[in-house]
Subunit: 215 residues, 2 copies
């Protein structure tokens, strides 16, 4: 890893003013996106207005609307941004997974299931269910869901180290993602972690037997 | 099947008036419960008020409130009632399932998944997600979820004909129910039936290999 120099000579002329302003704008945008996911997870769609998010992010309502003209823009972008960050973080820590074998399989299933049982999934679930009855949201959430689903599926295939050209492998990985989604739903109202741990352990054994991931 | 006699002698005295009145009351209650599930599935929690349900059921608002004093009473009872009816219907048709073997396993997985991909699941999902942020609903939905989850799990064990005292069997059945729930969620905004058919088929093969249900 290369470390950035501790001091950078300031760029000359107009750029000097523009660069920090762009940084501030990016930081504001990021705070809004993160606050939006927190609000959705805690308050649901009804309680999550642009004003509530702006206040939590410490940003004026006007600034929030400059970045995201509509409520749908803000929340769709928020779930997309935080999901991309989470997937990137998971990929960045992939080298900490155990070597191929049963311990790796269980670690991968656990990692996938964690993606679906935290505040991000809770936020996405509120948005998803709202989209079922709110037309302006529906189309955007369908597109988001396709994109996120593809990325998550690809990550699972990479981490499990399986070959999707083998018949049944693709569907087994899909079933794993569906199960993770179901576990996320089961965790919405109560702490389901004890039951979930048993399901994850058993699922990993089933995958080892089905996909040959036991090594 | 025995057919009821076409004419029944009316019971004597007060009971004569009471019996048809009780029948009418039960029929009204039933219409309200069915209309409540339809409304929830189509309109979500926000759009499903007692008035909307009463109108759909062709019942006065006062009569609806006589049967169900609060909105929470009505919708919790509705999801419980329709789920019990669906499970009873599924059990009544159990003898139409193929004999034990791979065809039966796939038919059972398909049957479980159908429970989670129709309007009833959609209604339950709206109620479930509303309960995450509405305190008066939460406790009741947690109790409902426990009850329904237990009943569905028991039906799955019976239909698959597996023995839960064998290590891993209980968790494999739980994973199947979680997967079905995840498939339900995946079907909320788009028609997921083509992808789902592949997952169901593959999952049945995995169960046959894991549980020995191939016969």
């Amino acid at each position: 890893m290369t470390t950035p120099p501790t001091t950078t000579p300031p760029p000359a002329g107009q750029a000097a003013a523009r660069a920090p302003q762009q940084d501030r704008s990016r930081a504001t945008r990021r705070r809004l996106l993160e606050a939006a996911v927190e609000c959705l997870a805690e308050l649901g769609w009804n309680g999550s207005t642009v004003s509530v998010v702006a206040e939590r992010a410490g940003v004026s309502r006007g600034a929030a609307q400059h970045h995201f003209p509509t409520r749908e823009d803000l929340f769709t972008a928020a779930v997309e941004h935080v999901t991309a960050e989470r997937l990137a973080a998971v990929r960045a820590h992939a080298d900490e997974l155990p070597a191929p074998g049963p311990r790796r399989t269980e670690a991968v299933v656990d990692m996938i299931v964690r993606l679906y049982t935290g505040p991000l999934f809770r936020a996405a679930l509120h948005l998803w269910v709202a989209a079922a009855t709110e037309e302006p949201l529906r189309e955007r959430i369908v597109a988001l869901e396709n994109h996120v689903g593809r990325e998550s599926h690809r990550a699972a295939v990479d981490f499990l180290g399986v070959d999707e050209s083998t018949p049944g492998v693709r569907e087994t990985v899909q079933a794993t993602m569906d199960m993770a989604r179901g576990l996320g739903l089961a965790n919405l109202l109560t702490d389901d972690s004890a039951r979930r741990a048993g399901v994850v352990r058993q699922w990993a054994r089933v995958l080892d037997a089905t996909l040959g991931t036991a090594g």
